[in-house]
């Protein structure tokens, strides 16, 4: 087997490399190309499609291309945001997989010049239980052993996010946990991070200025994450001897905290010309990317790199993915002061390189040149337009008729159905998880976990930031395009629900094997959906990530785009109105049209193991008007409670408002959708709706606000007692606590 094939490079790719170099690459160069041209680093299967994502708006300072997106939020401040996935490592070792995912996304924010001030986790696992209709039905139904493993994975991932996030000193203020059999072999761990900084502190990942010096800051370099290239190991040990290569990367939040403080002081004292975090493909990527961006070259000396193991070969040092490392470009005159800053914060630092004019990456080790390649060639990688084909299986799924296969329940059934639905893991109380997260550090958290969106005040200003993170895998199984639009709409609606104007989004695209035409069709369709939603809701895509190969035994996960939306509150005078009912006698409304969208609903899946028909319907004009309406309700403080309708329909939304306040309600279940059957009215998941309550004296104000926003509004009942449509709040709470891990 040719060496390049063992490294995952095709013959054509190898041919391309030889053409660029005008010769065959040596071992070190081959290793560098193989990691840089991998799917993970080069986005070769997705780049073509990602170009279709709109990313411009007057306030977007930096869109995709840099380490994180940057937008202007006023008062001379910029917000930096990014989302990344760490799925495969989390399956191997959940604690460290999730922990190093948090560490990595934090460095992507830091490298732009900002202090990371909040992170969010979006997690997906296989079912935590083997009981219930949905558990047995699907092809990868969770039997007892699989369910136990899924619980172990979920506990490990959450404690990894808690362990790393808390110790590194970045509060975890929001997120979501969802379950579906398709994630049993492939958990998804997506982490979003954001930072805020003065605009003039923005750092670019560019090795600009011939003669400037490259510093490697942070942890020592070991054989972590070297993976496939290890077959290149020469005499030191044979390729099969895995004892030398750690199968798992271990994070050190203590080291990262020192790196954060050192880098922030370097920024504040204007000592850096460029900054680049070390992520996938380690030093190779950092040097190639920074030189390529600045159109310069770099001369790198590996002998200066602090190693954790003595006998490391050049290709190992260059492709090591050891954590907690940054690459800074500093002017020669500032090197001494920069080294002193790192010493003050007790984080190792070494001069490892120098910017050259000859646009080539030249790497030296023990007096030998071990690499001389054009950085742009490493950085640009290759681009593929892979074949796509619509999966036939969709026809049967879409043909299923919920109205035929699902019962329209009667009034008598409602209490039991509500309790049954609330025992779904996707509607479970997730405080077992976020109680383990420090969600208060920096004293910015005005609304934290448990609310529709996290709200963070911006100290020294009257502004606040709101962020929500959502994904609708089941919808995308039926219709990747429409499901993606619904995910964007859901995240944006959550942000508007707390009174913030949605302004930008990031997306993390979790899919199966791109070499399967069906997966590529799903991927392309999902990108088109995000494009439409981005244009319709004026939400530029300022960054994101792609994770392919989420499949087990050839079966891919549901197409799962995870969307993070950020919104702004211009003047935060008080804590936004929350989701819990406030007092007995308050009047309850549903705003927005309820359609017949039962087929992909949580009730249909959890209570009847039915997934079919079309994904829920949505109308962009209604979504935009709902944003205006909710922002107005919050700014004028017209309501006592506001909560958007999502998984489980109006029924679940009412239960959540009751659980958040221990106050029940008396409602007429036919009030907001008289033309629909009871099951559909209660559990339909049509987009663009919310549930509000207000004191009687505000009823007219809310009615006129809805009228002005041209939104249908139904008065459906009032806050009272300790039941929701006949189900005791205590029983509903017990059901929602079934899956405490």
């Amino acid at each position: 087997m040719d060496m390049h094939k063992e490294l995952g490079l095709t013959d054509d790719e190898y041919g391309e490399i030889c053409k660029i170099l005008g010769r065959e690459p040596n071992h070190t160069e081959l290793a560098m190309f193989s990691v840089m041209w991998s799917e993970h680093c080069s986005y070769k299967s997705s780049r073509l499609h990602l170009k279709r994502l709109p990313s411009d708006a007057p306030y977007v300072i930096l869109g995709p291309g840099e380490n994180a997106g940057v937008i202007d939020i006023g008062d001379g401040l910029a917000l930096v945001m990014r989302i990344e996935s760490h799925n495969h490592p989390s399956y191997v070792e959940p604690y460290q997989g999730a922990a190093t995912g948090v560490g990595g996304i934090i460095r992507d924010i830091l490298t732009m010049g900002a202090r990371p001030i909040a992170s969010f986790d979006s997690l997906r696992f296989g079912l935590p239980t083997h009981e219930g209709p949905a558990a047995g039905g699907d092809s990868t139904g969770a039997n007892e052993v699989i369910a136990a493993k899924n619980r172990w994975l979920a506990r490990g991932v959450v404690s990894g996010i808690s362990g790393y996030g808390n110790a590194v000193g970045v509060p975890t203020v929001g997120g979501e946990i969802q379950y579906d059999p398709c994630y049993s072999g492939n958990p998804l761990v997506n982490v979003l991070c954001l930072g805020v900084m003065p605009i003039d502190q923005l750092q670019r990942g560019a090795a600009a200025g011939v003669g400037n010096i490259g510093l490697l800051i942070g942890a020592s370099t070991g054989r972590d994450g070297i993976g496939g290239v290890s077959v290149l190991a020469s005499s030191g040990f044979d390729a099969q001897d895995t004892s030398k290569r750690p199968s798992v990367q271990v994070g050190d939040p203590f080291e990262e905290k020192k790196v954060i403080e050192a880098c922030l002081e370097l920024f504040e004292r204007k000592l850096t010309v460029g900054m680049q975090d070390l992520g996938g493909a380690g030093l190779t990527c950092a040097t190639a990317e920074t030189a390529a961006r600045a159109n310069t070259g770099l001369r790198v000396n590996l002998d200066a790199v602090q190693l954790r193991e003595s006998d490391m070969e050049p290709f190992e040092i260059l492709t090591s993915e050891s954590q907690e490392r940054m690459f800074a470009i500093v002017e020669p005159g500032d090197v001494e002061e920069a080294l002193a800053v790192c010493e003050k914060w007790e984080t190792p630092v070494a001069v490892v390189g120098e910017v050259t004019a000859d646009q080539s990456l030249v790497v030296q080790s023990q007096g030998r040149i071990v690499c001389d390649v054009p950085p742009a060639a490493l950085d640009e990688g290759v681009v593929y337009d892979r074949p796509a084909r619509r999966p036939e299986r969709l026809d049967a799924l879409l043909a299923r008729d919920p109205n035929q296969d699902l019962p329209q329940i009667t009034e008598r059934d409602v209490p039991a159905q509500l309790v049954a639905l609330m025992s779904s893991p996707n509607l479970a109380d997730s405080s077992w998880a976020w109680r383990q997260y420090d969600h208060q550090l920096f004293l910015n958290t005005v609304m934290g976990p448990g609310s529709d969106a996290a709200v963070l005040r911006v100290k020294g200003t009257s502004r606040a930031i709101a962020v929500a993170i959502d994904g609708m895998g089941r919808y995308c199984r039926l219709d990747p395009r429409h499901g993606s639009e619904l995910a964007v709409a859901e995240a944006a609606r959550n942000v508007a629900t707390v009174g913030a104007r949605p302004v930008a989004m990031v997306d993390c695209l979790n899919f199966g094997n791109p070499e399967s035409p069906e997966v590529m069709w799903e991927f392309s369709d999902a990108v088109d959906g995000i494009r439409t939603a981005s244009l319709e809701l004026a939400l530029p895509v300022i960054g994101g990530n792609v994770s392919f190969y989420n499949e087990t035994d050839g079966k891919a996960i549901d197409p799962t785009p995870i969307i993070g939306v950020v919104g702004l509150i211009g003047n935060l005078s008080a804590v936004p109105i929350g989701i819990g009912f406030r007092q007995a006698g308050d009047v309850i409304f549903v705003v927005g049209e309820t359609g017949s969208d039962l087929g992909a609903s949580e009730w249909a899946w959890w209570c009847h193991d039915f997934v079919g028909g079309s994904a829920p319907s949505m109308d962009y004009r209604a979504e935009r008007h709902l944003h205006d309406f909710l922002i107005h309700i919050q700014s004028e403080r017209l309501a006592a409670s506001v909560h958007d309708v999502s998984l489980g329909g109006v029924a679940t939304t009412l239960v959540e408002c009751a659980l958040a306040s221990d106050l029940g309600c008396q409602v007429d279940a036919h009030a907001w959708a008289p033309q629909l059957g009871l099951s559909t009215a209660l559990f339909s998941e049509t987009s663009g709706r919310a549930v509000l309550s207000c004191v009687p004296s505000q009823v007219r104000a809310i009615q006129s606000a809805a009228h002005e926003a041209e939104l249908p509004l139904w008065q459906i009942g009032e806050v009272s007692g300790s039941q929701v449509m006949g189900a005791d709040v205590a029983d509903l709470r017990a059901a929602s606590l079934t899956h405490q891990l």
Binding site: I117, S162, P198, P253, F254, Y437, K459
Partner: protein
Amino acid sequence: MIASLANPSLKASGSEGPGPSFVVAVPIFPGSNCEHDTQYALVQVGAETVFVHHSDKALPAETAAIYIPGGFAHGDYLRAGAIARFSPITAAIGRAGADGMPVLGVCNGFQILCEMGLLPGALAPNTQGRFLCRDVHVKVENIATPFSRAMVLNQVLRIPINHRQGRYFADDATLRHLADNGQILFRYCDAAGMVDESDLVHNPNGSIMAIAGVTNENGNVVGMMPHPERAIESRLGSADGRPVLESLVGGSSPGAERE
């Protein structure tokens, strides 16, 4: 002073508050992370904060009190506070404490003071083995310390905790001495002030005798697991942490609670 994002909006120091500014030294160990929140809270009660590097040998001359902040000194490796106690600054802290200067250790600060031997007992891993970030109620059992003199005996305060190793433990002899000598400052309780060591809802880390904070013999060195600096504004959930800082600067500060 322009507010930098995570740092508090710094009013000109000393311009508010009682008389010449009350200077609090806040030592920062590698891994500490609540120092900015501590500064933000102290500004609210008119006190000035001076950050001190853990490798310094002396405290600033004008230091009137010491506030060891929360965080993860040395990553909480080995034991929370186990390595931090050997930093050069701890000798100066020990001397100041012995001389009667008010010293408050919050969360990681409490762990460090115990490891230094300035406070009795130790903080073991939480009974249920998990990190806890939530509000608790604590009952005030000693109003003669520099950090509780603005409080009323048996007052109940709602303040957040945020730790994995917060379960207070001491042997019986030490506990008897703490009780007899009035060194038990705060105990976890329910909203009505009822203390029950075995109730893991209201004593969530399983501390012995539900102890949440203790003082030294002299009453001037205090350690508490709850974070008063996280309970300064009701807008963020509770303002019950203010009395701890107001006690320190002597009476309640003129500035009304920032809304």
